[in-house]
């Protein structure tokens, strides 16, 4: 067999704990990345299959959550690599202009640079703090703040324009 890399690995019970506590948020972020709710569930299942297969390669330099998040994000990005427009769920009926605002916001989110978009999804859909986002995206916490600030500025502008 292949030479095993020096690592402590993750146990199945640890992975199961992350799965059971984080499943809904993971699916939501995956759905935000690929724009497809049904496919998002499958992406998360597939990502956990990968995490389970490679659990012995996990190195405890960062929390297990962060590693799982990375695998889910990468799996979702793989899925999304088939070129297609990023779409979000919109309300079918427009009431008081909410549908238009959602559509404008969806387009603005889709237009964000990928790092800003991912940071935004992890912050709003998974409720991760800056430290956890930094560990997941492998960037510094200070960079997370700057990245989210840039995303907020772009989206705030979109919201303001849409409400006029």
């Amino acid at each position: 067999m292949r030479t095993k890399r020096s690592s402590e690995g993750a146990s199945l019970s640890e992975i199961e704990a992350v799965y059971r506590t984080r499943f809904a948020e993971l699916c939501r972020v995956a759905a935000a990345i690929i724009g497809d709710r049904d496919a998002a569930r499958d992406v998360v299942q597939e990502a956990f299959g990968s995490v389970i297969r490679h659990r012995e390669t996990f190195r405890r330099r960062a929390p297990l959550d962060a590693w799982v998040w990375r695998v889910v994000i990468n799996t979702a990005r793989d899925h999304r690599s088939i070129p297609r427009p990023l779409t979000f769920e919109h309300p079918v009926h427009s009431q008081n202009g909410h549908a238009e605002i959602s559509a404008a916001l969806g387009a603005a989110v889709a237009a964000l640079p990928e790092r800003q978009r991912l940071a935004l999804f992890l912050r709003y859909f998974a409720d991760l703090d800056y430290k956890a986002i930094a560990e997941t995206l492998e960037i510094r916490p200070g960079t997370v703040a700057a990245t989210l600030n840039a995303a907020h500025t772009a989206l705030r502008h979109t919201l303001t324009e849409a409400r006029r």
């Binding site: 499943f23 299942q45 919201l159």
Partner: protein, 448 residues
């Protein structure tokens, strides 16, 4: 700022509604990760073995059992034997003892279908090699009615399931290149439970073929391949497609049959198939560390002394990369020489039951490819399920094969070596990942 965040939060909430944790399915995740709870499987196996014990008293023709979970029947190893097949069983055992890539000891052989054309008798035999189903055709087509045996052709069960078709044509023509009667051809394959018959369509029309023991055999008259102007041309009318029918004549599914005459479908670009299309972490200088260091992994392989084929070749190590097949892959490192100045990794394969390897592939060391090399191998000209094998660099941690229909298979890597099967009718995508799950290589797989 906080107010703006709250405002945004409400707006973003409307984009992707929250998911419900009750949709979580840990057992499915375990299954995908190859760590599923084994208890149900053991129970299934026990039930299967109990069924096999009942079947042991029945003729060969009934010695197969159904697995309700898959669309392709699982073959039972414990086949009973009539007197003539005790000889065949012994012959298999002896061939296996001589093989460089032996199949599991005690593998049972069964007679699936018999048929005759123009006074020539054909038997289609079946056996199981690990997680592959194998067919072997033998016939009295030799000089003076001598029995000739075609090479065994195997297909991984998982691939059959993933392709989602109720039938599979395994070989389409010319299984006996040196036979005495060149005008006879044979086409054969597997059929899933519920398939009562198969129709084969060629230029001459539609030909119904009964299914027996989850297999079918169609004999037809056709010219053998010829070599006008050094180009191999099939003159025979190999059927173009096979259709599975149930007992009421209802169509269950159709597969295309590959032939050199018609050509293989082209291999599309990575964006045309599901899965990643962009390499995120290119491997600049792919190496196989253990070969570079001269470590002795796997089993040693000694080239036969008599035929001189091993002369000048490096010491090879024999690896069995796939749990689905007994096929071995030989790998070695060739240092530079006057005739080949670049050092190279080299590899070849040995078929199950075969006494030694055929062919050879070289991959110069220092190329810019994450998959150092990918070779294809097949036992027949009209490959329906070609086998691919190769080496990946140390930085490649896992491989995934993605089929056209989106089905994916994890391809094991053993000492940097991998092997898998694909359908000749459909291109597939091989994706390699590094330890962090980033895409390190993408190879389109096909014969076209």
């Amino acid at each position: 700022m906080t107010e703006q965040r709250g405002d945004l939060s409400v707006a973003l909430d409307s984009l992707v509604a929250p998911f419900d944790s009750s949709e979580a399915d840990w057992q499915d995740a375990l299954r995908r990760g190859g760590a599923a709870n084994r208890r149900p499987l053991i129970a299934t196996l026990a039930a299967t073995l109990a069924l096999a014990a009942v079947l042991a008293a029945t003729p060969f023709g009934q010695a197969f059992a159904s697995n309700a979970f898959d669309r392709v029947t699982v073959w039972i190893d414990q086949l009973s034997g009539s007197a003539p097949f005790k000889d065949e069983q012994n012959a298999l055992r002896e061939a296996n003892a001589r093989a460089a890539a032996p199949i599991p000891e005690g593998t049972a052989l069964g007679l699936l279908v018999s048929s005759s054309l123009d006074g020539v008798h054909f038997d289609l035999l079946g056996f199981r090699d690990r997680a592959s189903l194998c067919l072997r055709l033998q016939s009295s087509i030799g000089e003076g009615g001598q029995i000739m045996k075609a090479p065994a052709t195997c297909v991984a069960e998982q691939l059959l399931v993933d392709l989602g078709k109720p039938l599979a044509v395994v070989a389409a023509a010319d299984p006996f290149p040196r036979r005495a009667k060149p005008g006879l051809q044979a086409l054969y394959g597997f059929a899933a439970d519920g398939v009562a018959s198969v129709t084969l369509t060629n230029e001459a029309g539609v030909h119904p073929v009964p299914v027996e023991n989850n297999a079918f055999l169609y004999l037809y008259r056709g010219e053998p391949p010829s070599l006008p102007r050094d180009k191999l041309v099939y003159q025979s009318d190999v059927p173009a497609r096979a259709t599975a029918l149930d007992a009421n004549g209802r169509v269950l599914g159709t597969v295309q049959i590959m032939s050199l005459r018609r050509g293989y479908p082209g291999t599309p670009g990575p964006t045309k198939l599901p899965g990643p299309a962009v390499v995120e972490r290119p491997i600049e200088s792919p190496r196989v560390g253990w070969l570079d260091r001269g470590e002795e992994r796997g089993d040693p392989y000694e080239w036969p002394q008599t035929d001189g084929r091993g002369e000048g070749f490096p010491r090879m190590r024999m690896i069995q990369p796939s749990p689905a097949t007994s096929m071995r892959v030989l790998v070695g490192r060739l240092d530079g020489s006057p005739s080949r100045p670049e050092p190279a990794y080299c590899l070849t394969n040995v078929w199950p039951l075969s006494p030694g390897p055929t062919g050879f592939a070289f991959a110069p060391i220092g190329g810019r490819s994450g998959s150092i090399t990918l070779a294809s191998a097949t036992t027949v000209f009209d490959a329906q399920f070609p086998v691919f094998f190769g080496l990946v660099a140390d930085d490649v941690d896992s491989l995934r094969l993605i089929l056209k229909n989106g089905a994916t298979e994890a391809i094991p890597i053993v000492d940097n070596v991998f092997a898998f099967q694909a359908s000749g009718a459909e291109a597939a995508k091989l994706v390699g990942y590094d330890a962090e799950g980033r895409v390190a290589l993408i190879r389109m797989v096909g014969l076209g």
